[in-house]
């Protein structure tokens, strides 16, 4: 179908649709207007018919005879006229009477009257169903109909009469006329349709022709171009688009012409390339046979064209490439790849291997079938070799670069616009770079130096920029601050503007060198500052080195010593001997130690030196001299002397008897041997109460107040400047002044070489005036470390630490001597004391060897009324009756007791003794074994108990009487208690039984005879029940109280805090909701009955809990305080409190200060608490204020000072 027919067909289709739509819409709108006009007309008619009849027309109608036939005819006539004038069919009215629809007015056209088919008054309507709708809805109803009266349209207007009967007026029109009009309209529409159709199709035909003409022309031209006729003149009129299209075709034709020319050129070029070019061109068949080769390929491979055309492609290929080749060929053949490029090796005809670069592509016919492969081959053997060499070199250097142990960097210097080096970039670094700098190559590569090292200017830029510029290598050691390393760097320039560094980390080496230098310095300073004189002598014995300390030793400087021999400084009288020794040593060339020699100080004093030295040799082993050290031992020698003297002093002490003499020798010795100005010793007299007259005893504050009034230091020895032992310093209180403080524990010793300034020396002026410079005080102590005295001295020379050591040693020795002397004195004193006691005792005291009296006191003689010689040598049974009151033989019994005592058992027994004259008396005897001088003795103490016995008898009788009385009372008390228990038991058991009956039977009556009782009766029974239950509760409370009073007290250590916590825990369980602040201090320890204390706490805390229940912020506190040495415990709350006026009722049983309705309770709790506290010997009382809270105080032991008791 050509384009013209297509346009025509499309246009026709559109025109038909448009025309038919217009026609249809025109027809429909005409029809609708017509019908609306009819409906309006009908409604007007029906309403008019209704109006012309009176309003109450239908109310009056009852039956056929309601109106006269004449009247009906008039109505019909009126309607007929109306119908005629309005061109209507019928006007009528109907009414529902007795379920029938009857006419109440009508129209009777003449044709109906002729037929006799006209409606008369009250005729039943033959088609009642026509009114279903109008009477159903009671709304105006329009409808079309076709029935025996023709085809028409009618309207029905409904109404109801006074009695509710439904009626309606109707009007109808014959619509046969209408249809006629409609047919006309339709015909007109169809005509319109035909006209539009005809005009449309003609127009379409014309347009189609116009539109398609250029296209057809263009098509023919294109066809001609396709067939190769490019010389086509294109001149086609038409729209802009058509013009543009024709121009494009013209351009296209031109282009094709030009292209053809180019192709011809290309073919020529290809031919020349193929025949003469440097590229080997090969056409290979699908079987890989060479189909066609160009001369160049022949030249490359060395084969002739003929030879090659009988060979295949793989035949000349190096085996390494065959697999890859066949794979590529396969892909090429399958069209997976358009071409491939490779470098491969061929075998030349002469056997040489050549490298070629090869591009292969597949050539296909129009349908895509593979025709052959085309390959372009280039000989790259030379290039390849060059590459290979380069690669080898690169690899070699790269490997060197990567593996060298030195760090290496390659850097490019960066210049500014003026050509000044400003920075450098680290282009590459080797792995060793990280080892030397700690910076990883990844971080370093490509960074600017400033960036990498974080410095403002690139490190060593001028130095290295110079290398990069001049190409002169540079080698240096630097401290590379950025990485904190010392580096040995060699820098060279591989090309202008670049530099490379090769470097190693020499930090360690530099550090070691540094340490070495420091060590040398240290050693030198050691030598230089040493107190010892360090020297060097050459092989001739002449000084070559001397440490500066020679100045302090001999008064000469090193410059005085160097160049001299040691002999020059030796004491003249010793020189001969020294020279002998010196020569001997130099001859031996062996080390020597501790050689003593005396030198002469520059100031003339004698200095004793102790020297040691070692020979030294040069590298050839030749003796070069001695090096050594000299030590000044002058002082040491002097000390040794002092020690000797002190030992002599100690020896002198041993032979001395009196303590005071010993002490005097010591102070004398200190003055004599140690050169003290004066030395003194004080000793502590135990039990020597400080009293008036005591030195400084009147001080009441400050460092000199007497700290220990029971001990005082007594001056006992004094030598040197002062030799008196009385005066101001006769007594010094322990702890006061420098002497007293040495004696007190605070300062075991006190040494100062600056007495004129030391704050502890109180009289600086005095010390200065005497030229005293040093003081030393040492505490003399007993073996247990108890202070026994002080040794002190003043000196005009400083006390050296050696002197101090000597004095300490002397102090210790002196302490021992004093202690042993003192203990001897104490023993003597004690002996005297005990002898006095022995002699003056009121008991007879014997000493027996076995059963023989060896000694006795004066009382013994009085007791036994005899002389000493009448007792000594006798036995105890000499002074006893033959038999003792228990009937035993006195001697036998006495020996038994003595033997028991000798065996180590103390004996104490009653004994019947007799006087020397035989008079009997009662005695108590105590026997004790004692050791005296290594011998075992019995000490017997005998007491005359005659009087004592009599008194004892009287007491015994009295006691017996008392015991009886107590027994009687206890019995009565026990009986009373038993009765009370029985009573309580009875209360608990018997009093409850009747109550139970009352309650039980009341309940029974309530249950069984409820119907026979009125409300009052039931209420009385309920009251009976309540009362009996209340009484049961009261009985229980009474018993509780009784138990609290009667149970046994078990006093033990009790933690009141824990008990209170327990009670509070219980209370919290009863009411989880309440928020009460509880304060219980931990660890209130008391001695009490734990069970009863729990009752106390339960009641007191329970009351607090109960009476704070109406408080928002309840607070309960258990506390304890002490007043007048009385511990008082309390429980405080901020609850309801109470009026102090009623405080006396608080602790009474069954007493209540609040109504049961407000705060439930039985009034027994506080009574119980009071009884418990009283039983613990304590008191309880309370304080309170209404609405402010209450505090209950209690004590536990029998209080002495209770301020308030309730």
């Amino acid at each position: 179908m050509n384009i013209k027919s297509q346009i025509l067909l499309l246009m026709s289709f559109l025109i038909i649709i448009t025309a038919s739509t217009f026609s249809w819409i025109g027809y429909q709108s005409s029809k609708k207007a017509l019908l609306e006009g009819i409906d309006n007309k009908l409604l007007t008619a029906a309403c008019f018919a209704k109006t012309i009849l009176s309003d109450n027309y239908h109310d009056t109608l009852i039956d056929k005879n309601s109106i006269s036939p004449e009247e009906f005819d008039r109505m019909v006539d009126r309607n007929n006229k109306l119908c005629l004038s309005l061109d209507l069919q019928y006007i009528w009215s109907v009414m529902i009477v007795s379920n029938q629809i009857v006419f109440t007015s009508a129209t009777s056209p003449e044709k109906d009257i002729k037929k006799g088919d006209h409606a008369r008054f009250f005729d039943v309507h033959r088609n009642p169903s026509a009114f279903d709708n109008v009477f159903g809805t009671m709304k105006t109803d329009y409808s079309s109909f076709t029935n025996e009266w023709g085809t028409g349209r009618m309207v029905l207007v409904p109404g109801t009469d006074k009695t509710g009967r439904k009626y309606c007026f109707g009007a109808s029109m014959d619509t046969g006329n209408i249809n006629k009009i409609l047919t006309n309209t339709m015909r007109e529409s169809f005509l319109l349709f035909l006209i539009i159709l005809t005009v449309g199709i003609c127009t379409s035909y014309y347009l189609a022709g116009v539109l398609s003409r250029p296209v057809i022309k263009l098509t023919s031209i294109a066809k001609k171009i396709t067939s190769g006729d490019y010389n086509q003149k294109i001149d086609i009129g038409g729209g802009k688009e058509v013009k543009s299209l024709s121009e494009s075709i013209a351009t296209m034709s031109l282009a094709i012409r030009e292209k053809l020319a180019t192709i011809c050129e290309s073919v020529e070029l290809f031919r020349r390339v193929f025949d003469e070019g440097l590229i080997g061109v090969v056409i290979i068949g699908r079987d890989l046979k060479f189909l066609k080769v160009n001369p160049t390929f022949c030249r490359i491979t060395g084969y002739s064209q003929e030879e090659l055309t009988s060979m295949t492609f793989p035949e000349i290929t190096h085996p390494d490439h065959i697999e890859k080749d066949s794979e590529n060929i396969k892909k090429l053949a399958n069209g997976e790849i358009p071409y491939y490029r490779t470098e491969k090796r061929y075998y030349r005809k002469d056997g040489a291997v050549i490298w070629v670069s090869l591009v292969a592509s597949a050539i296909r016919d129009n349908t895509g079938n593979l025709l052959y492969f085309l390959t372009m081959t280039e000989d790259i053997t030379d290039k390849k070799q060059l590459n290979e060499e380069l690669r080898c070199n690169e690899e070699k250097f790269r490997s060197l670069f990567e593996n060298m142990t030195e760090g290496m960097t390659l850097n490019e210097v960066i210049y500014d616009a003026k050509g000044k080096a400003v920075n450098y970039r680290i282009v590459d670094v080797n792995p060793a770079f990280e080892k030397h700098t700690g910076i990883s190559p990844v971080t370093a590569k490509g960074k600017l130096a400033t960036e990498l090292y974080g410095t403002e200017s690139a490190p060593y830029l001028p130095l290295w920029a110079n290398v990069a510029e001049t190409g002169k290598p540079h080698h240096t050691e630097i401290y590379f601050g950025s990485v904190k390393r010392h580096l040995d760097v060699a820098c060279f320039s591989p090309r202008k503007g670049w530099f490379a560094t090769v470097f190693t980390d020499i930090t360690e080496r530099v550090q070691i060198a540094d340490q070495l230098r420091q060590s040398e310095e240290k050693f030198r300073s050691l030598v230089e500052t040493s107190n010892e004189w360090i020297w060097e002598l050459n092989e001739k014995g002449i000084g070559t080195y001397s440490s500066p300390s020679v100045k302090t030793l001999l008064g000469y400087g090193p410059e005085d010593v160097i160049g001299k021999t040691p002999l020059d400084f030796i004491l003249p009288e010793d020189r001969k001997e020294f020279a002998t020794i010196h020569n001997k040593i130099f001859k031996s060339r062996k080390p020597f130690v501790h050689v003593l020699y005396r030198c002469l100080h520059k100031n003339g004093s004698i200095i004793i030196l102790e020297g040691s030295g070692v020979p030294f040799f040069d590298s050839n082993g030749r003796f070069k001299g001695y090096r050594g050290i000299n030590r000044n031992i002058t002082e040491r020698k002097r000390m040794e002397e002092q020690i000797t003297k002190l030992s002599f002093l100690k020896e002198r002490l041993i032979g001395t008897q009196s303590l005071n003499e010993i002490l005097k020798i010591v102070t004398d010795g200190i003055v004599e041997f140690l050169g003290a100005d004066f030395a003194r010793i004080w000793l502590i007299e135990e039990g020597d109460l400080c009293e008036k007259g005591c030195f400084n005893g009147e001080f009441s504050e400050g460092p000199n107040v007497c700290r220990d009034r029971t001990r005082c230091l007594h001056l006992v020895a004094s030598s040197g400047r002062y030799t008196h032992i009385d005066g101001n310093h006769r007594r010094v209180p322990v702890g006061c002044y420098k002497i007293g403080r040495v004696a007190s524990e605070e300062d075991p010793w006190f040494v100062t070489n600056d007495v004129t300034n030391d704050p502890r020396v109180h009289d600086h002026v005095w010390a200065q005036s005497l030229g005293l410079v040093s003081f030393a005080g040492f505490k003399l102590t007993s073996e247990e470390g108890r202070p026994i005295g002080v040794l002190a001295l003043f000196n005009k020379q400083p006390i050296s630490s050696f002197g101090e050591g000597l004095l300490k040693d002397l102090t210790n020795y002196l302490s021992q001597v004093i202690m042993s002397k003192k203990s001897l004195e104490a023993l003597q004193k004690s002996e005297t004391k005990f002898r006095t006691i022995f002699e003056n005792a009121n008991d007879a005291i014997f000493l027996m060897k076995d059963d023989i009296f060896v000694d006795c006191n004066t009382k013994t003689l009085q007791m036994f009324q005899c002389a000493r010689d009448q007792i000594i040598g006798q036995s105890p049974y000499r002074f006893s009756p033959p038999l003792q009151p228990d009937g035993r033989d006195s001697k036998e019994k006495a020996l038994e007791k003595i033997n028991a005592a000798l065996a180590g058992n103390h004996q104490y027994f009653d004994w019947k003794h007799c006087l020397y004259d035989g008079t009997l008396f009662d005695a108590e005897v105590s026997l004790n074994p004692i050791v005296l001088g290594g011998n075992l003795f019995i000490q017997a103490i005998v007491r005359d108990v005659t009087e004592h016995k009599k008194a004892e008898q009287a007491i015994l009788e009295l006691n017996r009487d008392l015991e009886q009385r107590v027994k009687d009372r206890t019995l009565r008390l026990e009986l009373a208690n038993k009765e009370l228990n029985a009573f309580a038991y009875s209360v608990s058991h018997d009093l409850r039984a009747p109550l139970r009956s009352i309650d039980g039977f009341s309940k029974a009556v309530l249950e069984d005879f409820s119907d026979k009782l009125n409300d009052e009766g039931r209420d009385y029974l309920q009251r009976l029940r309540r009362a009996s239950q209340h009484m049961a509760a009261l009985i229980d409370d009474l018993l509780k109280l009784f138990r609290v009073t009667s149970s046994e007290l078990n006093i033990s250590d009790v933690n009141l805090s824990l008990i209170a916590e327990t009670a509070i825990t219980g209370l919290r369980k009863t009411d989880h909701q309440r928020n009460v602040e509880i304060i219980i201090p931990p660890e209130i320890k008391i001695k009490a009955d734990p069970h009863l204390m729990l009752v106390v706490m339960e009641n007191l805390l329970g009351n607090a809990w109960k009476f704070t229940s109406k408080k928002q912020k309840a607070r309960i506190e258990l506390g304890v305080f002490e007043k007048n040495k009385q511990v008082i415990y309390y429980v405080r709350d901020n609850g309801a409190g109470f009026d102090m006026a009623f405080v006396h009722k608080l602790f009474g049983a069954f007493q209540r200060l609040h109504s049961v309705e407000d705060y439930p309770g039985d009034g027994i709790g506080l009574a119980s608490v009071q009884r418990i506290i009283h039983r613990h010997g304590g008191w309880i009382w309370a304080e309170g204020k209404p609405d402010e809270g209450a505090t209950f105080y209690f004590t536990l032991d029998s209080g002495t000072t209770v301020t308030k008791e309730v």
Binding site: S988, H989, A993, R996, A1004, S1028, Q1029, A1032, D1036
Partner: protein
């Protein structure tokens, strides 16, 4: 349950009636043997001297024993019951007004199975009896009779 006899030893006739009433209220329909004092109770359990054990009354399933009884008191009855192999493991519940600790200790130490204090409030008493009945008559498996 019906064939199990309850022996009630109680001297107070009011308490007897109330206890029986409490049984009734709790639908405990066991036959109840009532003894007015300890001597009667022992005679019922062990017979007179002339009777052999076989001639004795059947053993009750449970004994409710008041402590304070004329002639022989409850604790003594309990001791004798426990001394006799025949009644050694018979459930005995001490039912008393006493709250004396000593009574409670005695009861348990002489082998009472339970100790119930008779509350004055009859409602509580009914509840106590209900629990007794539940436990001792329903739940507790009695030892085989006569062994």
């Amino acid at each position: 349950m019906e064939n199990k006899i309850i022996l009630l030893v109680e001297d107070n006739p009011d308490d007897v009636d109330l206890t029986l009433r409490a049984f009734k209220k709790n639908n405990i329909a066991n036959s109840v043997v009532i003894k007015r004092d300890g001597a009667e109770a022992l005679e019922y359990l062990f017979g007179t001297e002339n009777q052999s054990p076989q001639e004795c009354n059947p053993l009750p399933a449970i004994i409710l024993l008041d402590i304070k009884l004329p002639k022989i008191d409850g604790i003594e009855v309990l001791k004798r019951l426990r001394a006799n192999p025949r009644t050694k493991i018979l459930p005995v519940i001490i039912l008393t007004s006493s709250t004396q600790e000593q009574d409670i200790i005695d009861s348990y130490s002489f082998g009472a199975n339970s100790y119930v204090r008779k509350p004055v409030d009859f409602d509580q008493f009914i509840e106590a009896v209900r629990q007794l009945g539940l436990y001792w008559l329903l739940l507790n498996e009695l030892p085989p009779a006569g062994k």
